[in-house]
């Protein structure tokens, strides 16, 4: 429903965004590929020539590789599960009639405004510190031995911190979706004798599927690359070394750009597998 003129205008107007993103994607990607086939140590001799797939073999056969993939998936999966489940429950709660709904909503959204470095630092020192953290005080109050959270339950701690940051987002999207649910549908189901639980399962939950998809997509995009939370808390120790962090260490800490780049290519492949999988669901769900 448009003219040749507007179609060509559309192409021109889309060009800057497309070209910029294409450049942003391709140039560093090609450079990463290039480095990944080289022995490249910027502080120890620089470019030491082509090494074929050496970096790839070394990166994948390193003892840190598979644990890092595992840590990544556990963190992403854990945060997704927690934020979606609690997000649905919180959204239903916030949708109930109550006093001061607006204020509660602000309280619940607030963690989203907190920058990751701040939230990681606050959680690490003021809550999870085994001596002075609030959790330690709480444990002692109940006569339990304080836990050194970030070393003894490191993955769970990271998941807790990141979930705290993302729960507001999930809740808000799901709340918006619940509010758009036609109340007549629920009333009709009630007339048909459906129990609250089956009303939730048969009407509310399917209605939320699109919102859940959006949460899934957007959070995965951001969670795959969480960095600051680990950088500030454990620096990758105690089994919290995600793929992102492992590569970061190879590139910046060991200054082995070739090896890090090979890792980067693996990370890109992993991200693409997740992306293809997600885009399938989202593409289908977005039109609805």
């Amino acid at each position: 429903m448009a003219t040749q003129h507007s179609r060509s205008a559309a192409r021109i107007m889309m060009a800057p965004a497309v070209i910029l993103l294409l450049g942003w994607m391709l140039v560093p990607l090609l450079m990463t590929l290039w480095f990944s086939f080289k022995k490249y140590l910027p502080l120890r001799g620089g470019d030491l020539g082509w090494v074929g797939f050496d970096n790839y073999v070394r990166f994948i056969s390193s003892s840190s590789f598979w644990p890092s993939v595992q840590a990544t998936l556990i963190i992403v999966g854990g945060v997704l599960a927690i934020t979606i489940i609690f997000g649905v429950l919180l959204a239903i709660l916030l949708n109930q009639p109550m006093w001061g709904q607006g204020v509660v909503r602000i309280l619940v959204i607030a963690p989203f405004f907190v920058m990751p470095t701040v939230s990681a630092l606050v959680w690490k020192n003021m809550f999870m510190d085994p001596v002075n953290g609030l959790f330690a005080h709480l444990w002692k109050f109940f006569g339990a031995e304080p836990i050194s959270w970030l070393s003894e339950a490191s993955l769970q701690s990271i998941i807790l911190i990141v979930s705290w940051q993302w729960l507001p987002f999930a809740t808000l999207i799901l709340l918006t979706a619940i509010q758009s649910l036609d109340s007549e549908q629920l009333e009709a189901a009630e007339m048909d004798g459906a129990s609250p639980l089956s009303r939730f399962g048969h009407i509310t939950l399917p209605h939320l599927s699109r919102a859940i998809t959006v949460v899934l997509l957007i959070q995965t995009i951001f969670l795959l690359s969480i960095f600051a939370e680990i950088f500030v808390t454990t620096q990758g120790a105690f089994g919290t070394k995600t793929l992102t962090y492992l590569i970061y260490q190879r590139v910046l800490e060991s200054q082995n750009v070739g090896l890090g780049s090979a890792g980067g290519v693996y990370a890109i492949i992993l991200a693409n597998i997740v992306a293809i999988f997600l885009m399938r669901i989202v593409g289908k769900n977005l039109d609805a």
Partner: protein, 334 residues
């Protein structure tokens, strides 16, 4: 200032040809109505003239100048949309001023034209309101006002009354006709309602499936429909179209007779039948009569006070001077 000529214009959406080659000339100052059932391509045709869609092939000229590749803004046409398409963030005054602002009309000239358009359209009290605060009829007037102030070569109306309720529609119909008489500017008006077409048009273009079925004045179309489609489409209630042995008696495949051209009698006549549903309008009564000779009931117009009721036996006699005859292809037999 406003002759529009289409020469073998076609339009395809992908592989689907919605308008096969079409020729049409709209004379300067004419009120032309495109009418046809929904999906007949009348709105598409209007959008082609407006320049909102490209024609696939052919030529459009406005005032003798080739406008085929001229963008909509430069064609000197104004359009009133079905949804009115008012700018919701602007006051009525700003809405009406917008096309003049785009054209760089000086501000005092803008104000002069706004005042006179507002006076003509009864909008003077509403100039500072937003469209959201207006009724449907008022929004319609703002849309017309926005079109008038441009002093365009031609006005294009895309089903402008279809969002109004019935009473308002009759009023706006008169206002638009009045406007045309006053401005004497070319107007092209798209509607699916043949009553609007008959009451407003100088020239009616009947379209079906992208094809022009007939072009002519309302009375030409009424008196001499070129084919069965036009015969059935123009006139209210619809013409009775009859086939079978009775049609063969008149050397035709189909014969048509309008409800107002059939005499009804309880004693004698050509076709015998039984009264079915009757619709009393006060001035007229429309009887649906099931005749033995035809499968479908015939519609017959009679006076408002005719006392016939459901199940009465009657006889119908068509006025043979007003009988329309069509061949097997549906074309009129002269």
């Amino acid at each position: 200032m406003g002759q529009i000529k289409l020469e073998s214009v076609t339009k395809s959406f992908g592989p689907v040809e919605v308008i096969p080659p079409l020729d049409l000339t709209i004379e300067d100052g004419e009120f032309t109505v495109f009418v046809g059932p929904s999906g007949c391509g009348k709105s598409t045709l209007l959008r082609l003239i407006a320049g909102l869609e490209d024609i696939t092939s052919g030529k459009i000229s406005i005032d003798g100048q080739d406008a085929t590749h001229v963008p909509p803004a430069k064609r000197g046409l104004a359009m009133v949309f079905q949804s009115y398409a008012l700018y919701p963030h602007m006051s009525v005054r700003k809405n009406i001023a917008f096309p003049m602002k785009m054209a760089g009309v000086p501000v005092d000239e803008q104000n002069r034209r706004i005042e006179s358009a507002a006076a003509a359209l009864n909008l003077t009290d509403y100039l500072d309101r937003r469209p959201g605060q207006l009724s449907g009829g008022q929004r319609q007037r703002v849309a017309i006002g926005r079109a008038i102030v441009r002093e365009p070569g031609a006005f294009l109306f895309d089903e402008p009354l279809s969002n109004l309720d019935a009473a308002l529609r009759v009023g706006m119909r008169l206002e638009i006709s009045e406007l045309h008489k006053r401005l004497k500017t070319t107007m092209i008006y798209v509607t699916h309602d043949q009553v609007e077409a008959m009451t407003m048009a100088d020239k009616i273009v009947v379209l079906q499936a992208g094809v022009i079925e007939q072009v002519g004045s309302p009375l030409e179309l009424y008196r001499a429909p070129r084919n069965v489609f036009v015969a059935g489409f123009i006139g209210s209630p619809k013409m009775n179209l009859l086939t079978g042995p009775e049609a063969a008696k008149h050397n035709a495949h189909t014969i048509g007779t309008r409800p107002e051209h059939i005499a009804i009698s309880q004693t004698e006549g050509t076709w015998s039948g039984t009264i079915g549903v009757s619709e009393h309008l006060g001035s007229d009564t429309f009887f649906h009569v099931k005749c033995d000779a035809f499968e479908d009931p015939l519609t017959v117009r009679a006076g408002g006070e005719v006392a016939l009721k459901y199940g009465d036996k009657v006889f119908l006699t068509p006025d043979l001077t007003q009988l329309h005859r069509f061949d097997a292809q549906g074309l009129r037999i002269a």
